[in-house]
């Protein structure tokens, strides 16, 4: 036992790194080969996101903000995919914007992955539009509150926003009944709540998908200022399972495309890594208490 404690005390951090790599890589290989994922039970916050989108009438304009970059793609791409999947299936008019410089690229990728691949009947500029990026963070939100076209004069492909059918009837941000925000930091959901949702006097509802780091900070806003929330990859997996079960192909033998199972697949490595973390904390404490006990013995 004492030898084990000595090993624990002097354990090189690289062994911990190796253990983490194995605990993540192992489940990825197993899930990748078997194609099996773990079951998910959606929490109220994830259900709220789903129902807020679902209750909008067909053709309603929805503002979808991609305020993240590829660095957080591992967490946020699956939820962005599912959010667009549900909006497209529901027949909502999707207006994409970004307040992060790399957001427009991620919007294009999501459009290719979901809309162009599975909803070829939706037309660019009519059913959806990528308005692109504008610098200025909160100041862009401020301008959008009174004049959308002034904040975003052209779309990403160079069309004047006044000429875009998808933006017909949109004068200001409050003309969108719902804001769907996928965010990784500043500016993100918090700023949208502070500068747009609060100022709109309840005209705009908002749902968000955010990173694990942001989730605890956003909980105080839910459900009063924030109508639904997907927290980290777990929130993405819950929401993904909700959307998949509602949009399941009528032919039940048809498999759900892998791109709509990304978050659920990622819950496997998540399980492995979380168990490792718990194990490491327990081992660390065993070593700590054993050391303390031996010190007490030595002094007495």
């Amino acid at each position: 036992m004492s030898k084990f404690i000595t090993i624990l005390e002097g354990l090189d951090r690289r062994w911990i790194f190796l253990a983490m790599a194995i605990s993540v890589a192992g489940p990825i290989l197993i899930i990748g080969i078997t194609g099996k994922t773990l079951p998910e039970t959606p929490t109220p916050a994830a259900r709220a996101v789903y129902s807020e989108i679902e209750k909008l009438p067909v053709g309603t304009p929805v503002l979808i903000a991609f305020d993240f970059d590829p660095a957080s793609g591992g967490e946020l791409t699956p939820m962005a995919t599912s959010l667009v999947h549900q909006c497209a299936a529901r027949g909502l008019r999707m207006v994409f914007i970004a307040l992060w410089p790399l957001g427009p690229q991620l919007i294009d990728e999501t459009i290719r992955r979901v809309i162009l691949a599975d909803y070829p009947n939706l037309k660019e500029g009519i059913d959806y539009v990528n308005v692109g990026f504008q610098s200025g963070n909160e100041a862009v939100m401020k301008v959008m509150l009174t004049d959308f076209a002034k904040a975003f004069p052209i779309t990403k492909n160079g069309t004047a926003v006044g000429d875009v059918v998808a933006l017909k009837g949109i004068q200001r941000a409050s003309d969108f009944p719902l804001l769907v925000e996928v965010c990784a930091g500043y500016p993100g959901a918090k700023e949208w709540i502070q500068y747009v949702i609060s100022s709109s006097g309840g005209k705009i509802k908002m749902v968000t998908g955010c990173t694990g780091v942001q989730t605890p900070q956003l909980y105080p806003y839910y459900p009063v200022q924030l109508n639904g929330m997907l927290g980290a990859i777990k929130g993405a997996a819950e929401y993904e399972s909700l959307v998949n079960s509602s949009l399941a192909p009528k032919d039940s033998s048809a498999a759900i495309p892998a791109k709509y199972l990304e978050a659920q697949r990622r819950m496997g490595p998540q399980l492995g890594a979380h168990l490792l973390m718990v194990g490491l904390i327990i081992l660390g404490n065993i070593a700590f208490f054993a050391q303390r006990k031996s010190k007490v013995r030595a002094t007495s």
């Binding site: 290989l29 790399l102 610098s135 909160e138 990859i233």
Partner: protein, 335 residues
């Protein structure tokens, strides 16, 4: 510090496995593209005669589409192997492994990747700022003809107010860039003052409205929260919901007491503040749990990239024809 034998062996095994993977089955890390010929007819106008513009685009496709097309017709020209994207894939894998190599210790590979990303991201932001904001807003207002003729023909004409505002923005921008000049950097304080003033003006309203008032209002919860189904009050749901509201109200008040440093944290105030500390510890514990969750998801995404796109070990999206289980099986056989 010399690498220990164990680590050398581990790295060697990984390298050998990658080598084996390269030589079995369909190989790995190749990218393919589809040829798409575009043709657009442009009507005659004041500046040019009617013309048909033709060009070719190459769109990335899944390997299985290339393989299927080759099987059907070995001389097809619609799908092709892409050197640029294949090199890109290998470069991505190199950068990923270079960054991970830092886990062992600092090394030239990691530093190279770090140097690359600093240069690329700074320029990337500059380019995005130029094309997405400066061209449509600044140049679109100050040189509308040039912008219409060369880049954005559909950009609406600026109003006089916009032109004046953009001259003002240009002046502030030039002052800001004076920071790079050897002399006269003090003038950059003017645009910074503008930025500070605008931000302060924006923040007062938003923070009071959204964070101070709305959050305080949200804290006023009924301490007994009756939960009923079919007009019958349910015991356990009512207990849980009421307890949640009581704990929430008590928690916010205790934490605020802890943050109130104008009074000594002694006696009753001290005890309340201590309860506040406990709430904050739980808050930090939850934050830790969620941070771990976030970071692991990012790591999983990178490992998926290595296994799926680079090594072709797994194929959850069915991008390739050969079942990956077969490839893994053959790899294990080799091993």
């Amino acid at each position: 510090m010399k690498p220990s034998k164990t680590w050398v062996i581990i790295v060697a095994v990984i390298v050998v496995l990658v080598g084996i993977r390269m030589s079995i089955g369909q190989g790995m890390a190749r990218a393919y593209v589809e040829r798409v010929d575009q043709s657009v007819d442009v009507k005659a106008n004041a500046t040019h005669v009617a013309t048909t513009f033709k060009w070719t685009e190459w769109h990335p496709v899944q390997p299985k589409m290339y393989e299927a097309a080759q099987k059907a017709d070995a001389n097809q020209t619609r799908f092709a192997f892409s050197w640029a994207n294949t090199i890109g894939l290998w470069l991505s894998a190199f950068f990923t492994l270079a960054i991970f190599s830092f886990l062992y210790r600092d090394n030239p590979g990691y530093r190279l990747a770090e140097a690359v990303i600093i240069g690329v991201s700074a320029a990337y932001w500059g380019v995005v700022g130029f094309w997405d904001t400066l061209v449509p807003k600044l140049f679109g207002a100050l040189t509308p003809m040039l912008v219409h003729e060369k880049v954005l023909p559909s950009l609406p004409d600026p109003t006089m107010g916009q032109v004046v505002a953009m001259y003002f923005a240009l002046a502030l921008g030039i002052m800001l860039l004076m920071r790079l000049a050897p002399k006269g950097g003090w003038i950059s304080l003017w645009p910074i003052a503008f930025i500070i003033g605008v931000t302060a003006g924006l923040k007062i309203v938003s923070h009071v409205e959204s964070d101070l008032v709305a959050q305080t209002v949200a804290t006023f919860q009924p301490l007994v929260n009756l939960k009923s189904a079919d007009h019958v009050t349910q015991l356990w749901p009512t207990i849980w919901a009421s307890l949640a509201n009581i704990l929430l109200v008590v928690g916010v008040l205790c934490c605020l007491t802890y943050f109130f440093f104008s009074v000594d944290h002694k006696g009753a105030v001290g005890r309340v503040a201590r309860v506040g500390i406990m709430y904050l510890m739980i808050t930090f514990g939850a934050a830790f749990g969620f941070t771990v969750m976030g970071r692991v998801a990012l790591l999983a995404a990178r490992v998926e990239f290595l296994f799926d796109d680079w090594l072709w070990l797994i194929d959850p999206a069915g991008k390739r024809i050969v079942e990956m289980a077969t490839a893994v099986g053959s790899m294990l056989c080799w091993w």
